[in-house]
Amino acid sequence: MLSQDPNSPGSLGIAISEAIEDAVKSTDAKYSLGSVLNHVCLHQTIIGQEAIKQMEMAGEEPDVIIGCIGGGSNFAGLSFPFIRKKIVEKKPYRVIAVEPTSCPSVTKGELRYDFGDTAEMTPLLMMYTLGHKFMPPRIHAGGLRYHGMAPMVSHCVKLGLMEAVAYPQTKVFEAAVTFARTEGIIPAPEPAHAIKAVIDEAIKCREEGRKRVILFNLSGHGLLDLSAYDSYLSGKMKDVEESN
């Protein structure tokens, strides 16, 4: 890939292939994936289970549940225990996933079988995908630069249990700065996507004069992503649309 294009930004899809190859060739090494797969979504449900108890302590039920999606695991972690209540108790929650416009796997992708990686080493997964050869542009939210989507999250979209929206990175960072200047925590670029959707929902509530309870996953802090904030605050950050 680099010999063809030395300036290629690389992608998660390529790096997955290298890591798998290493594990397959070694006798005592195995591969570990940070998102997408069922067992990863499973482990992350500790988030939503705690949140259910905590919302009970707060004496409120969410109307809207929001999280960002790259591979889908932090979103799954918060939302799946609530989606269970949607299915079993018929709770009317709106569940919204947020992705970058430059890597819109769910809002612009196709639901079909596709490889999880660029070199075609994984099985074919039924998921929303932009195609495994898709090279996501160099946005600052590196964790969201993945062509596909967790099969379990994709299935929720297919069954109408959730919806998805996309935003460009300058709007996302505007929301991130608003959050940092009010709540104090500097968000990671990835959950800043969720924050943008939260702010839009809150503004809709103001315009409609309606109180809604909005719950979102602030999946990480941005203290190691300050170069992204530098880019935004200095005015250098540009919006990048998907390249192919």
């Binding site: 997955i16 067992h39 482990h43 988030i47 989606i83 630069r145 103001r206 109180k211």
Partner: protein
């Protein structure tokens, strides 16, 4: 009058099980397919890549899966994580909405990634794995796996996406600080 804006859970309220949505979907997820035969893959095909215990977990449709005690003990380093009401943001937006956020940035790695890194490192450890390989986008996953591997005594090799390697040098340093054996290979 003081308004409660944080809703802390005690250590004893840390969940005991993970929840598997596969048990409650009204129709099943189409299975992963072998690219050559286009038939559903069988567990043995994943053995070069994953330990058997995680392969079984990947395919499981059990609704509640018990969190092993050694995993819960590590979770207790930073969990349960805070749930906070964003009253200042509400006021700034002049919205009647109530906004709550679940803060996963409270983990040592700064994100939700350790929740699965810790579990995967544990299951690999008991399966006899000595080293884990992985890739990382922004560096948050690689850091989290390096942290988890260090706690369970596994080596960790991280393949980092080139643009992130350049944009986020401190991630590589995090991995090295935890791992010693973590390598960053820019792609």
């Amino acid at each position: 009058m003081k308004q409660h804006i944080t809703f802390p859970l005690s250590a004893s309220e840390l969940p005991t099980h993970w929840y598997n949505l596969l048990a409650d979907f009204p129709e099943p997820v189409p299975p992963p397919l072998h690219p050559g035969t286009k038939q559903p893959i069988t567990p043995d095909m994943l053995e070069p890549v994953f330990p058997k215990n995680l392969i079984m977990q990947e395919a499981s449709t059990e609704r509640w899966i018990e969190i092993p005690e050694p995993v819960r003990e590590v979770y207790a380093l930073y969990r349960p994580t805070p749930l906070i009401r964003a009253v200042r943001l509400e006021r700034a937006l002049q919205t009647p909405a109530h906004i709550y956020y679940k803060y996963e940035g409270a983990s040592p790695a700064g994100s939700h990634k350790p929740n699965t890194a810790i579990a995967q490192a544990y299951y690999n450890k008991i399966a006899g794995t000595k080293r884990l390989t992985t890739e990382t986008g922004a560096g948050q996953w690689g850091s989290s796996l390096a942290f988890a591997c260090r706690l369970f005594g596994l080596e960790c090799t991280v393949y980092m996406v080139r643009v992130s390697f350049e944009q986020k040098p401190y991630r590589k340093l995090l991995m090295q600080t935890w791992g010693g054996n973590s390598l960053c290979k820019p792609k």
